[in-house]
Subunit: 200 residues, 2 copies
């Protein structure tokens, strides 16, 4: 006899495939769902299916959307000639929330990472180049994370974009605002010295 | 404009209601589900609904089951007159996996905890007393956790069961097997002294 009933085992199995969820958390979640009113479980089940079925890539910026082109691409922005390239939809939201960027976005959905089997063909790079070839953009800001893969992807993209006559820039790396030098890691402090700004 | 699309927000909302899942993990799970083949998301959605709809309480032991009485209650056991009372289905599985218990089970679905608003009426105590009144059991092992609420529930049950002429016992507390005295907490070490076994 298995430890739990068949449908409970199936639920624990399915939940434990979620990222960051082991068998113990999955079991806890499953028992939680069984204790809730049926509507709670039905709502979660329906939300999963609905999201998976309605969400697609925007044909312009490649961000996730429910109808393509997405709301952002249909709307107007203050700096139409500025394009910000990000790794993921979450990064796009992070940049938007700073209210310091007023241009267009392009989502790569990853970075080049040979160790994880991610090649340029797996990313929305072709779509980016096609978009830039249209001549509508004067500058591209590469806003990939300052990780090894992010830097590698940025130099790869720079080589592709430069011939199109579009200015390419990279978000600044350095000490986070409010940081203390004595506790900063060497790589960050080093970068903040190399990329020092001239004040006068 | 909200950060994510409507169905994505709905999914993140629903996932973040799971225990131990905050908004950040829920967002990560949602994006994971969107990256998977549609079948993965559909399977999880269906598993949640199926589990919630098929699982009920066994009319005998009150454990979760798909058809009542459950498989365990329909089967035979070596010690028919021994009943083990546990807090939760997970605890039942834990005890069964020791292979040291060969009697029947009864699941309370919680412990008395006034601070959490759990009273005896919220637990399967009435069902336990009815079951014991049948006269089929010679001994009840109270296997609630050795927590304050578990101990309180055990003494409450003892007072209810003793008049029925059924022997009541409690699982032993003390040092876990393989533990080292110098690192044991005081409460556990104290309990292991109070409950010392006579060897000779």
């Amino acid at each position: 006899m298995s430890a739990h009933t068949q449908s409970l085992e199936a639920l624990i199995d399915a939940l434990s495939r979620l990222p960051g969820v082991g068998r113990k958390s999955a079991t806890r979640m499953a028992f939680y769902l069984l204790r809730q009113p049926a509507e709670t479980a039905h709502a979660l089940g329906a939300a999963i299916v609905a999201a998976r079925d309605t969400i697609r890539y925007c044909e312009v910026c490649q961000n996730l959307c429910e109808s393509s082109p997405c709301e952002r691409c249909r709307g107007r922005v203050r700096e139409e000639s500025l394009l910000c390239v990000v790794e993921s939809p979450q990064d796009l939201v992070a940049i938007e929330s700073t209210q310091e960027f007023h241009g267009r976005f392009h989502v790569l959905h990853g970075v080049i990472s040979p160790l994880d089997g991610v090649t340029p063909a797996d990313l929305k790079i072709h779509e980016l180049i096609v978009r830039l070839s249209g001549g509508a953009f004067g500058e591209v800001i590469l806003a990939m994370n300052p990780s090894i893969e992010g830097e590698a992807t940025a130099s790869y993209l720079t080589k592709l974009i430069a011939p199109l006559g579009v200015k390419v820039s990279r978000i600044a790396s350095g000490l986070p605002m409010g940081a203390q030098l004595e506790f900063a890691d060497k790589a960050t402090l080093g970068r903040s010295l190399i990329d020092r700004r001239t004040l006068a």
